[in-house]
């Protein structure tokens, strides 16, 4: 087994799929990170304001406000926010493209290989 050394970070994971959220939370916790789960955009913005995470793993297609709107709100709260988009495709092409363009910390489409996730966190988290 390859152990990737990690520096514990506070990570906000946003996804409307409960199982995905939980599996991601367990995995990141196992590696010593602190995880703040949010199951929709509104909750994500609230939790960002409350916890000030080092990095956000953001889904795009969600009920209520989508990934793009969520991203706008987060950037408004913190202009130095680090956001990684975890959704690869979406129906609303233009909207998705804007989100990709705004997600300065990159795009990490599901299914995410852990090695890539660890690398992205190490490189982009505050």
């Amino acid at each position: 087994m390859i152990e990737i050394p990690v520096k514990p970070k506070r990570i906000l994971v946003v996804d409307d799929d409960h199982d995905f959220l939980e599996s991601m939370q367990l995995l990141l916790l196992d590696y010593g990170h602190e995880v703040i789960p949010a199951s929709n955009g509104k909750e994500a913005v609230e939790k960002y304001a409350e916890y000030g995470p080092d990095i956000v793993l953001l889904d795009f297609k969600m009920p209520g406000i989508d990934g793009y709107e969520t991203l706008l709100h987060i950037v408004k709260l913190d202009s130095d926010a680090r956001v990684v988009l975890t959704s690869a495709y979406a129906l609303d092409d233009a909207q998705y493209r804007r989100t990709v363009d705004m997600s300065l910390s990159g795009l990490l489409p599901k299914p995410i290989e852990f090695a890539n996730l660890a690398k992205t966190i190490a490189r982009h988290a505050k």
Partner: protein, 428 residues
Amino acid sequence: MARLTYRITVLVTAQIFLIVTSFLIMIHFESQLNLAGNVVNVAGENRVLTILVRDELRDKLFQEGDQALDGSRTLAALDALESNILFLKEGGTSSGIEISPLSPRFEGDWNLIWNMFGQYRAEILECLSADNTDAVAVITDIDTIKYTGDRLVALSDELTDKLSHDVDVLLSNLILLQVFLGITNVVAHIFLIFLIWRIFSRHTAEMVRMGKITAVGELAVAMAHDMKTPLGIIQNSTSLIRHRGGDSDAVGSTIDRMERAVRKMSHQIDGIMNSVRNVPLVMSPTSVSDMLGRSVAYVDIPDTIRISMPKDDALVTCDPAKMEMVFANLLLNAIQAIGNDDGHVIIRLVDGETVTIEFENSGPPIPASHMTSLFEPLFTTKLQGTGLGLVSCRNIMEQHGGSISVSNDPVVFTLRLPKSGQAERGGD
């Protein structure tokens, strides 16, 4: 679309050419017919003029006193007849009537007329100069002149008939030509309509098929998010199991298999996704050599196949994940084409303003009938192929402002990629 427009333009041009040519031929024949008709008129006029000469002579001879005529009108009528006969032979324009020279076929007829005219003129001149007091002699002269005049009229009529017959033949030929051109034009029109119909029906079929592909693509886009999330859960879970000590041989190999399955499913979904053009690119300057290395690592390469990598490298601005997908696809196709035989895949790289990457394989040539369909959606010769691999490759290359092409014997797939990354931003 451009090809379709070109073919229709060619057809319509051919049709216009046919119509204009028909029109010009008709005009030519019409003018021939007019000229021939004029010749008939001129020949026919000989009859009138011959009789006019005789009438003028009779008037001169039988008028008395102050009303006696000096014969100048007879001479004028004779001159008119002569010039008409010459006009008939030489052709030219007179009083707006244009005629062509008499056909050599009628030279014999004309000579007879000319000789007869000579005799007619001689008899008339003799009669005019003779002493007219002897009534019996005058009447004898008149009878002789009348007889010659009648023969001249008969000869003229004969020529007029022959010329009229020619005009009739010309006219019936013209009618036949009109019918022929008419039929040709109708046939050409029917052919044109058939071709246009065929082009359009083929194009429509293509559009319908593309429409279906687009519909399938949109459905796939809609499903992607939902399918990738459960795959993400499996991926996260296998990573978790592995991290929690599931690295014993038995569990470790099971997890490896699960992760390979996840990767394969994810790749299949990507294949469908990339066959429709609404996946935005994530551009970054990347080393072609690195991308090739990752693609080769991704594909299972049998021991019988040797992969030859390019020695040089180039830096291009592209979406590396997408480009690796293209490389992996071409590599996989090459390996499948070689099959179980020993073989090789040679990857070449030419750096320039446009980076060219070639994938040559030692497999059999692509059948000529397949060459045109290679990049069409759903075209596959493989049992387990989706028919989307090369479509995805082409879409990805075009999205990057590049291209993909293929040449046979040996089979070489050539990718051309702008170095500076001129990605199309407009999605479909």
